[in-house]
Structures are given as structure tokens and as C-alpha cells.
Symmetry: C2
Subunit: 351 residues, 2 copies
Amino acid sequence: MLRDWGSRDKAFIALTARIRARLLEIAGVGASHVAVPVQGSGTFAVEATLGTLIRPDAKTLVLVNGAYGKRMVAILERMGREAAVLEWPEDRPVEPQALDAALAAEAAIRHVAVVHCETTSGILNPVEAVAEVVARHDRGLIIDSMSAFGAIPFAGAEVEFDALAASANKCFEGVPGVGFAIVAKDVLAAAAGNAHSLSLDLHAQWRGFEANGQWRFTPPTHVLAAFDQALAEHADEGGVAGRYRRYSENRRILVEGMRGLGFETLLGDEVQAPIIVTFLMPSTPGFDFQLFYDGLAERGFVIYPGKLTVADSFRIGCIGRLGPDEMRQALAAVEVTLKSMGVGVLETVSR
Amino acid sequence: MLRDWGSRDKAFIALTARIRARLLEIAGVGASHVAVPVQGSGTFAVEATLGTLIRPDAKTLVLVNGAYGKRMVAILERMGREAAVLEWPEDRPVEPQALDAALAAEAAIRHVAVVHCETTSGILNPVEAVAEVVARHDRGLIIDSMSAFGAIPFAGAEVEFDALAASANKCFEGVPGVGFAIVAKDVLAAAAGNAHSLSLDLHAQWRGFEANGQWRFTPPTHVLAAFDQALAEHADEGGVAGRYRRYSENRRILVEGMRGLGFETLLGDEVQAPIIVTFLMPSTPGFDFQLFYDGLAERGFVIYPGKLTVADSFRIGCIGRLGPDEMRQALAAVEVTLKSMGVGVLETVSR
């Protein structure tokens, strides 16, 4: 990131090609798919994917159990594309059986969109089972895999999907500023002219790369140099399997330690992804979330406020350049912060 | 850029606020305008500005004398917004008189869009005179000031404009990955719901900053940290006046030196911005552009191929962290490269 890359220079063209090829390998797909990076945050990549693959007159069914599912609905509405919604509470995974019934009932639905790991709660949605249902009904599947891809196993060769969107700065541990989509080549080839936006047209972006290896519009060169390095470190750690192992161990240490201090998780362990964990807000007198947040921040640990509608909560992440030592240090900081607030044994109002 | 900023952290909120305030100062506007940064390349910022300020049913007149004017037309067409075009050859500035006549003739035109410095040729368009005509006809003006803002004097308090879009990585010498628009507050306040895109909705982006100082969607934190530093260095150099002086001196050295070697500029000096200079391709036998380009690149100087339709040409930039020494080194590299090609006195076919 300390080097000024010329975006039309041979070395940078090679860097872009390396990133694109590596993403396909990680997804477990070959020549059937292409990787198309796009400038901006993850939401930009999701919007580019939806806007490019969905024809203006086509209807999309969005599976919603959190804020990121809702965001896809908001994107579709803003683009003027028809959206139907199947919704579940934030503490329950989406259900393939309900999807099956919905697709059987409505032939007009051409696409299904689902979030892989819904970071609103930290829940893991069963995208493989969803993909099986969508393929059986011959519809197209778009997966927002923002905080899952790279750390949650995904056998792309065995899962039928039109596109999967993610970004450099979640499980790949790169810096923010670029997202990408992995798209079925035949689907993308047929998507010329669909996009509502010039900047977010994945088809034109892809054609640009195919033509001369260059980005259509100025790329965030330093961010991409960091992404290239992050992908090398991802491979060094053993790829998806290695990262899944470390994050899972982070989650285990975190959840066991927090339960030991009296905290309760929102989700049952069987649907809890090793990405971010939601804890219910304790009802113990003396526990004040702002003091808790600030106390942890002072000790070097920044946590997340809750984003739930079903319960008062807060969240702690398991991803990033963190291992067992950092998770144990975080738990020690939680314990010290609780003591500084004068809180002993925690109670949580059961929901 | 070596620090991992938390995007919802107080220090980063302060950094964003500092950038936004500084941009208004540089534009010479006060509380009448707001600065709204947006993730992505400069084109993303231009599209966000056009998409947010122009109502879906409104017609826009685009003044075109190069590729970036044409790009605004392409953006409007892609969004399904009506566009009219007034076009000039690439070696002539846009003409306020023709604009005056066009606006008098067509009441349906609500907005005018113009490129400040058209880097296709390096020409400076007379945005102040354009703004005067647009204001007299009571239409709204949108300026793509991508490669001008920060180095070309612009008296925002005396120029009536709805919005001006630019980016961190041109005259501010930051790294690529973020653009911004400076928008009249009353115009932006009235623009809710116009945008064709969720990601590129400047109104919602602005409301987000106003609500809690935070970005709606993950910002490119490292890019913004670099932009903050770049703005401090811009101020240290004496702001726009200081940068204009250095770039103008770069241009003078470049143009005089290249003319001394027999090269001819496309533009007359009176319309040549101190940003990028277009040279006509020599017709001297033995001059081979690819060899010339590669010879300069080997010596550490990367130039630009031409982008003109009116003449065969190439371009050399005057901006970035470059001063008289680097411009003289570039000229020495040009001279040595010409010699290595066996080319003596240059001839250029007059157009």
C-alpha cells in the first residue's frame, strides 16, 4: 500500500488478474464462472450484482432474516425492480421448505436472493439447501456472502448459483474499498444492458477486464494491492479450511468465556456462524451498555451495538487478524470492565 | 494508511468531518453548500451527483468536448434520464453563447452539465461564464471538476452552481478510492428519492453524515486517512493558489522543453490547463509511439496514449507530487529516448 501503482501498468494488470483467478479458486469454480471486482463497499457489489443480473421486468424473491436481507429489498425497490419477500425472525435461519412452496406458487419469480451469514444476528443461512430448491425450480440464485465467503466452506462446483457477492475486508482481512461478484459466465454474458447504473454495471466491468485486463474506471490501487497480499496470507493459512478453523476456535473461546461470565447468546450453537456473536443485554442492575462499550474500547476492544428488532443485544466479532490470545484478552477486558461497573453475577431476562 | 481505523470510532468520525469541512473551504463556499464524499472512483461521484440532483422526469443539457462529457451523457442514458447534447471539437472550449441560445430555445431543459478540465485534451472550459448563463436562465448547473478542483482557481461564493464533483486522487494527490460532491444544501434537501441507486444516493449519504457523522456503508478507511493527510499537505502548499503555481510551472517547463525538441501541442496556450498536455504525434520517419512509450517507462516516466478523435496524439501529465526537477528529468528522458530511436529533428504533420 506504500507504492503508487499505475492502474494501466503491466504489473497492476497482473495483480488484478491474480486476484480474479484466486477468487474463482476459493469459490471452487472453474471456467464456468468469472470474478468481477467493483469499486466501493460491499453494498456497492451487491447492488451491482442485483442490478446487472436481474432484467428490469423480472421479479425477485428475497429471503429476509435481518438487516442485510432488507437492504437487498431496498436496493431492488430503489432500482424499480419488483421484489417479493419471505421473512423470518432474526434468530431463525431461512427455511428451504417455505421457499419451495413460494416458488411453486409463483411462476413470475425469476430470481431468489439470500444472505449467507446475516451479521445482524450472526446466523448462518443454509445456502446449499436454498440453492437446491432454487435450481429445482429453474430460477436464478444470488447470494450475498459478504461476511461468509473466504471463511465458511462453500463448494461452488456442487452449488448451483448465478452469483455470489462479497468484499475484500471481511473474511479476507483486506482493507475496505473494493467488493466483487463471482458470476456464472453464461448468465453474465446474457446480462448486457440490464444495469440501472453505468458505474455499477458488472457486465460492462467484466467486458473491460476481458478486453485489456484494465479497470473501466480508476481502481482503488492501494486497496487492491492490500487485497492481493491478503489473499496470499489467506492461502498461507490453508485457505477457507484454515480460516474456518481459526474463526471457529475464536468463537468457541468467546462463547464459552462469555457464558462463564453469565452472558447468554441469542442463537443456539447449531446456527451460530463463526463470524459475529450476538449476546443478549444483561438485565442485572448496574450493567450499563455505554459504560461497558467505553470500558472495552479503552482497553483496546471495540464491540458492536445490537442491530436486532427481536431483542436488546450487543455483538462481538470473531473475524480479522485475531486468534486465541486476542479472544482471551478480550474476555479478560470484559471481566475487568464488569468489575469496574460493580456488576457481579449477571442476569439476563429470558426472552 | 498503516493504521486500521474503526469506521464508527470517534477518531474516524472526526477525520470524516475534517475532510468535509476542508472541501467546503477550498471551494470557497460556506453554509450554503455541503460536501458529500462517496465510495468509488470519480465516475461514481459524478453518477451519484447526476442521479441524485436530476429528477427522473427532468431533461439535462450536457456540454461535450471530450470523453468525460460523453461519459455524463452515457450515465444519463443508462439511468433513463433525458439528455440533450451541445458538442464542440475536442480542441475547442465549450461556448457560453451557444449555451445561451440553447437554453433560450428549450424551456424543458432543467439542468446543465459541464466538464471543468476535459482531460481528453487537457482543455480548460470556461465554467464561470457557463455558470453565469445557466443562472440567468434559472437552470441548475452540475460541474464535473474531477481533474481541476484543488488546483484551478474556483471562486465558489461568486459562481452559482448546484453541484461540483471531484475525487481525492487528482489535484489533491491522494490515493484513489473516494470521490465527493459539493452540493448546494437547498438543492440536495429537495432531492430525496430522486436517486436511481441506493449506493449512489447522495441525499441519503448526506442524511447519514448529518445524523451521526458516520458513513451509511463501509468507507474506504485507509483511502480517507490518506485523503486527510493529502488535504493537510495541500493547505501547507498554500491551497489552490500554491498548487496552481506549481502545476503551471510544471506545464511551462514541459511545453517549452517539448517544443524545443520539435513537438507541437494540440491546444493554444490560452486554453491549455496546467493539468495534462496533449502533443501531436510526430510524423518523422523512425518515430514509433510504442518504442517511445516503453523507452520513457523504462526510464521511470509513464505517459498517456492519446484519447482524441480529431488527431493522432499522446499526453503528458503535469499533476501529482512533481516539481521542476521531475519535469526536467522527464524532458531529458524524452531526449534520450528519441536518440535511442535514431530520431533527430522532429516533424509534425500540421492539421
